[in-house]
């Protein structure tokens, strides 16, 4: 349903889509059973001449079980959903794999700033590459992001990754992603952040290793890079 319109481009995007499908099947079943039953009863017990209602309290055992048995089955479905949800959640948000690189993501009214390590592979050194609204990453590499905000709440959302995370001023929130194919996709701010919320957009450019190193060479200042290498 989602992938037909929006590609799944991170390692966990497919897991999230499958979880959504699982929930869709389980609740869809109950939804159609309930609606079917509801409309059938409406039709079957429509008022007719000479027909009198059946007097039941709903507390008779043989009737009450029509409510109680489905009710336990719903509980079973809930358990499946809980297990599925917690597993996906654990992979995406709790258990961060070792990173190949770390990128700092800074939200402010109303732009994204991305800070990437330069050739030395370390953040907060003079050869860091700062970009605004465009994040260049390499396909197949595990990235950690360190998410910050300078003013109000923002939300770092990459729909093709199926990833969202609030940026909270005063905190640094760490998460991860790994892209599975190259391309250029949207970054959105998904938490209202003032009148410019609707223009707070970015692009994520997922590059092949060759493209990415070429981009990096082009953007890191050679003088500083040499200076820090000495």
């Amino acid at each position: 349903m989602i992938e037909s319109h929006l590609p799944a481009v991170s390692t966990y995007a497919k897991d999230i889509d499958s979880l959504i499908l699982l929930i869709g099947v389980l609740v869809g079943f109950w939804f159609f059973v309930c609606q079917g039953m509801f409309f059938w009863l409406m039709f079957k017990f429509r008022a007719r001449e000479g027909h009198r209602t059946t007097y039941v309290t709903g507390e008779e055992k043989e009737l009450a079980r029509w409510v109680h048995i489905p009710h336990y089955l719903v509980l079973v479905c809930d358990l499946f959903i809980i297990v599925g949800a917690v597993r996906v959640w654990y992979d995406v948000k709790q258990n961060l794999p070792e990173p190949d690189a770390t990128v700092r993501v800074i939200g402010q009214q109303w732009a994204w700033t991305f800070v990437q390590p330069g050739p030395d592979g370390q953040l907060d050194t003079p050869d860091d590459i700062r970009t605004v609204d465009n994040l260049h990453i390499e396909v197949g590499k595990t990235y950690h992001y360190k998410l910050e905000s300078k003013d109000v709440l923002h939300n770092f959302s990459v729909p093709v990754f199926r990833l969202k995370q609030d940026a909270v001023p005063g905190r640094v929130i760490t998460g991860w992603f790994e892209a599975t194919r190259t391309g250029e996709f949207d970054i959105q701010c998904a938490e209202i952040c003032g009148i410019g919320h609707g223009i707070m957009k970015g692009r994520i450019k997922i590059q092949s290793p060759e493209e990415h190193s070429a981009w990096m060479a082009q953007n890191s200042t050679p003088a500083i890079a040499t200076a820090s290498a000495e």
Partner: protein, 566 residues
Amino acid sequence: MAQSAQTVPHGGHEHHESHGLSYYLFPLDHKIIGMQYLFTGMFMALIGGFFAYAFRMQLAFPGMSVPFFGVVSAGEYNSLVTNHGSIMIFWVAMPVLIAAFGNFLIPLMIGCDDMVFPKVNRLSYQIFLLSVIVLITSFFVPGGGFGGAWTAYPPLSANAQYSLTPLGSTLWLTAVALEFVAFLLGGINFVTTVMNSRAPGMKLYDIPIVVWMIVIASILFTASVGPLIAGAVMLFMDQVVGTQFYDPAAGGDPVLWQHLFWFFGHPEVYVVLLPAMGITADVMVTFARKKLFAYRTVLYTAVGTGVLSFTVWAHHQFIAGIDPRMANVFTITTLLISIPIAEMCFVYIATLYGGSITFKTPMLWALAFVAEFLIGGVTGIFLGASGADIYFHDTYFVLAHFHYTFFPIAIIAVYAGLTYWFPKMFGRMMNDTLGKIHFWGTIIPFNMIFLPLFLLGAWGQHRRIYSYQNFPELAGDTMQNLRILATLSLVTMLLFQLVFLYNFFRSMFKGEKAGKNPWRATTLEWTTESPPGHGNWKEMPTVYRGPYEYGTPGRDQDFWPQNEPS
């Protein structure tokens, strides 16, 4: 103040007393106060609906000058969505479902002549009216109305330099706080009146479900709103005095507000849901001529839902920066709340079993409530499951989900209640044919508004964006066409509300006379005149049985009023 009209003694009077103007302006009678809440709520619903029209037009036709509004700027857009949400929840759902129906129905359904504290009741409405005035003022102050979403997350809501609405934010917050005070005061009456002033013979299980639900909702409201009132005081001080409760630079924490807000905000959903379910139950049993299936189960599940609703709030904050381990706890509690709610839905469906159903307008609304609310219920599971919420958070999927809960609650159930109790309120019947035209003209466009929004949300459209043309993934024609479909459906639906308004006000004066009990219902309000005079009954009723004795074996009539001696 000349209030001589109210000195009419109880009993032994015709219900056509002539009342002075002050009787309507400063009333103590619960029915008039209920009407004041109802009409204020309806007025606010028109404003909220107009706001929805303005921002939906902007989404469908970005940049166009919207008829009757003008070009919607980004700041105005934020203000429109913020106040649409605030109005529909705080100034429509709450006053109509709890205050209007609560005030009108509680004394009539439990068989007493008024609320126990009529003056507190009047004060409650006056504070509510003040909150309305403050809110409306906030739209017109320099800088414009508040635009930080109805959740008002700081720092955006706390600092004028970020929100750019220095006065709008403060007035909005003041209005919300006043509204809370009004409903705390109202709750005193609802709970104490039901506890202490029931008619002789009315035991706990003889109370109609809708009264129970309003009482449980009042208790939930009181128990959940306190921390938010404290939080609102802190936010107010941050805005006005310059304290830094929510400012991380000075040791504050913006996430604290989110906890306080949702600790209230989630129970609040059930505060409005329960009265809506109560209304539905009362309407369904009357037109199905059936006893409510498992009355006690409904009651227990309502209480269970209420208790559980205090344990789920952080599912709104899965990705808001809370400890990720907490998300697992809240996923479990959130999915557990589906148990009592599912049980309640099953019970409502089972109530139809063995009935003899006539499809009058109120019944159509009640049935539509169950059918539509089911959609809202099942889509909530996607959002309560933490793993899926990572993607769905803040998309139109969320928006469509809660409109499928709030629209049935605040609109469908309210129409069920209004069309059902209209004869009691005004003594005349509404036109059933116009009622059905209005019903289909509301229900079909309603689904055509929000089903496309589920799809847009699933495709990644995020909320509170005044124009999607800035986002390449969201600017395509397919998605834009769905937006246009939703907007045109909304305009259609709003136009059909004119049918209701015409029917409502015409029937009030020209409708067929209703008589005491036009629906042949069993509860106490139908045993007095329509509309009831001051004091409600000439002779106060005594209760002999439960509220829903339809089709009792061995009786000629298929209904057995609560007050009829056996």
